[in-house]
């Protein structure tokens, strides 16, 4: 897939687009969280991503993404700060001190990020978390689809959205929503919703 070089600038655009989508859907994300959590997911992520885009810098991919991850950790608080932060930190570690990634390296970095989330949050499939949106997307990136890398990215974003939608029927077993038990069923998970935006931003900017 020689058409699939992902550059430093590309990754920058990705994070900027993610920040834009978060800001745009901030209220909606917080409302989802209000239904089954404490109503701050949109505020948390928006505060964090605004800080990230305001300080984007670095000569290599690992440098830039690590900084972004640290920034997120330092500004978000709540569950999503360490989780998304760890995602980016592990992504950076997998990517290494390079200025470009190919599709395989990108998928590997995404897998490393997801593994970081699991290591930190111990989420299992169908716990009704961001994991349920990210896992099918990462798998799609790893397997690829017929066509261009852009097609794979779009397929991954679609998979994330399908995963996000599937959280509606799940009973939460992690995070604040788990206190609701049965009553968490019927509500879409806010973290899965923001995770789907991360993948949609990738499809828009990296394809």
């Amino acid at each position: 897939m020689p058409d699939s070089r992902i550059t430093l600038d590309g990754l920058k655009s990705w994070l900027q687009e993610f920040a834009r989508l978060i800001a745009e859907q901030r209220t909606q994300l917080s409302e989802l969280d209000a239904a089954i959590g404490d109503g701050d997911h949109g505020t948390n992520m928006d505060r964090g991503m605004q800080a990230v885009v305001a300080s984007l810098s670095g000569e290599t991919i690992d440098e830039m993404v690590k900084l972004a991850g640290m920034k997120l950790v330092s500004t978000v608080g709540g569950a999503s700060g360490p989780l998304y932060g760890t995602f980016l930190l592990r992504f950076a570690g997998s990517a290494g001190p390079t200025a470009e990634l190919d599709a395989t390296q990108f998928a590997a970095a995404m897998r490393a990020g997801l593994n970081g989330i699991v290591a930190r949050g111990k989420a299992e499939p169908e716990d009704k978390t961001m994991f349920d949106a990210l896992a099918p997307a990462v798998q799609t990136l790893e397997l690829g689809v017929a066509g261009s890398f852009a097609d794979t990215l779009r397929a991954a974003a679609d998979a994330a959205e399908k995963g996000r939608d599937a959280t509606i029927e799940m009973r939460a077993r992690k995070g604040r929503a788990s206190y609701l038990g049965e009553r968490s069923i019927g509500h879409q998970d806010p973290g899965a919703t923001s995770a789907a935006l991360l993948l949609r931003a990738a499809a828009t900017t990296l394809g």
């Binding site: 330092s74 978000v76 569950a79 700060g81 992690k174 604040r176 206190y179």
Partner: protein, 333 residues
Amino acid sequence: MKKLINDPADVVAEALVGVESAHPDLRVDHANKVVYRRDASRPGKVGLISGGGSGHEPLHAGYVGFGMLDAACCGEVFTSPVPDQMLAATKTVDGGAGVLHIVKNYTGDVLNFEMAAELAAAETGVEIVSVVTDDDVAVQDSTWTAGRRGVGVTVLLEKIAGAAAEAGRPLKEVADVAREVNANGRSMGIALTSCTVPANGKPTFELGEAEMEVGVGIHGEPGRSRQPLAPARDLAHVLVDPILEDLPFRSGDGAIAFVNGLGGTPLIELYLMYGEVAKILAGHGVTPVRSLVGPYITSLDMAGCSVTLLKVTDELLRLWDAPVNTPALRWGV
């Protein structure tokens, strides 16, 4: 929303200005929103830090001082603090004997403290042990949940572990004492009204004029069930019975009995509740060897109360009775 505040966004920062003016024994790092004992760190003493979302005052900043915490990390209202805060606090209070992190069991708190511990260990090699409180019996089925929430026991644990640290005990022992407190304490709360988060400007949930939320969390999380409000003598059973079911006391056991106000309930009602709780305990042969009655871990302006029972040994009681000098708990000094 009627509150004594300026801009809702500044509540925590401005309350810390007041804490600093009111308590010369404390030092406030305003950039990091960390409250310190003025004399932290003390060489050879295990450092104790805690923290969490704000809105539960006096927890945690009100428990900073001799014989209790060395530092409290204050998050935004009901939002866990970020690792930078605990990292700064850990480095500052470390007196060479290691640092205990006291963390209430909420995913956000646990993860942020965890990252802070990793960062601190990486940066300075300081030894850190984390003890997580999870005493809220309202959350039942823990394989299906993020686990029980940390509530009232946190106050008792900070006092008792603080005394152990002040006595010069090593980190491992201080942590063991802390875990023993958590293992032997249980809590249950009820809300008569919702709290109102300043940034939201409206009540977190709605309750009818004759309703209560049984098993409410200190952030206004829903509890076990919504029930009709009942006389205090019945409410005492609603609170105490699930605790006794979960933590079997034997007749003759001693307990610290803690009736906590959630912020909007006045002391006269808390004492009345304490009387009802004491009667139930007497019926089970449990002696409340020490009591604590008042708003010690609150949920902003929520009306309601929680009951915490801690089964104590002579040793735990000695540590409870040891001198403490903080804004919210003080005796023996």
